[in-house]
Symmetry: C2
Subunit: 246 residues, 2 copies
């Protein structure tokens, strides 16, 4: 593959992209090149300023998160926000609307972020030419579906929070000291808990020695206890301390 394939700028950037799970890092060189060549632009996003998409917008692009943290959310008739998911580097935004023609949620930045624009008009034919790309998309969508199904149960505030923390730790690859990119209000909204409940539950877990709270960071102290709490939720959260039930 010629190294000077257009668009040069985007491709050059992709070579130093920190996101290892991006399709541009695919083992298949042809796929990676085709993916990279397709990326239309890179777009910065700031919290509170504009949105990547709004509910009802025609679906023109997917977005690949390059850095930061995004959230997708709906707004009900009373103006209340409901967060449907957070997106971290490597995630693709819009997998849930690929089958439809328009967005079902708003997408905004939680912290200063950057996304790569994936034009659907080019992605669709690309998936036909490179079935591997379609397979990767299918895999990611499937994984997101499994997660959505797992977390949609009715779990206690403790179970939800434990599962969320373990998952964020795995996603952020931050070790035992978690600095959540989003405020507790957003965590609660996503987990269907009041902000106060999030706070109280965290304090309660701290009192019981599961974690320690300091300086807006959360330190996982007793991982085994958290895993035991999160286990019924049934999501993978890195190394599990529990034997898998039959």
């Amino acid at each position: 593959m010629p190294f000077d394939a257009a668009p040069q700028t985007v491709k050059a950037d992709c070579l130093v992209c920190p996101v290892q799970t991006c399709l541009a890092r695919s083992a298949n060189c042809k796929e990676a090149d085709a993916w990279t060549a397709m990326l239309a632009a890179r777009q910065p996003m700031m919290p509170g300023s504009g949105a990547l998409s709004r509910c009802g917008d025609p679906l023109r692009n997917l977005y690949s998160v390059r850095g930061g943290c995004l959230k997708s959310y709906t707004v009900d008739a009373d103006g209340n926000e409901r967060i449907r998911g957070f997106y971290l580097p490597g995630d693709l935004v819009g997998l849930d609307v690929m089958a439809g023609g328009s967005w079902l949620s708003n997408v905004g930045a939680v912290v200063p972020s950057q996304v790569c624009v994936v034009p659907l008009a080019e992605l669709r034919p690309l998936m036909s030419i490179h079935p591997g790309v379609a397979m990767r998309m299918l895999e990611q969508t499937s994984r997101e579906l499994a997660l959505a199904l797992a977390v949609s149960g009715d779990y206690s505030a403790e179970q939800r929070l434990a599962a969320f923390l373990l998952r964020m730790r795995a996603r952020l690859e931050c070790g035992d000291l978690i600095r959540l990119p989003m405020p507790q209000r957003d965590v609660g909204n996503y987990l269907r808990l009041a902000t106060e409940t999030v706070c109280r539950t965290l304090k309660s877990l701290e009192r019981r020695g599961c974690l320690s709270l300091a300086d807006k960071a959360i330190h996982i102290v007793d991982e085994a206890a958290l895993c035991a709490l999160a286990d019924p939720v049934g999501i993978e959260c890195g190394a599990s301390f529990l034997p898998k039930a039959a």
Copy 2:
């Protein structure tokens, strides 16, 4: 395409299959033929007798529902069942585990059912040869993801039930008289409601003139009111009476 392509039996059956949304009815003849040829077998399923898959089983097949109604569910440490989804004719079972190597849930029949066995070992190469098949799989997975995300909010018992009924009516294509294939216990389990709450809420909706209950069937009386209730859930349930929010 030769009409006598093997396996004859399965293909012949597919020609009279009542499921219009099955991939065997794809507009693309080559795809439809390839799909049909791949189907390994047809499998009957009875409620309570055996299961299509068990949590942890290696993933060998997907299943295409041909008739009846299936449910996927997990069982927690206390032996409590949690239903993650119902599958009706045309649905593919296993889209949430395609990215992994093993099942994350048990799948059993709710009523006497029949499924077509889709061997993954053949499906994967087929998706490479026929990108259209991969696209269809991706579309269905995407649609399921959108549904799972929509339903995972914290809605009242009334909202959940209204959305569920409207969705089942659309899925069953049964007009305004719904005969749910599953008992109220399963409905409640799926919607994260106690059986008693399901019953009480149905009665309450009946008192308010939204529906009428008779002979184990549910008659939709005031569709507009149900749509209004279900609207915040945000799933498509056929004709909507409400203007779409911006």
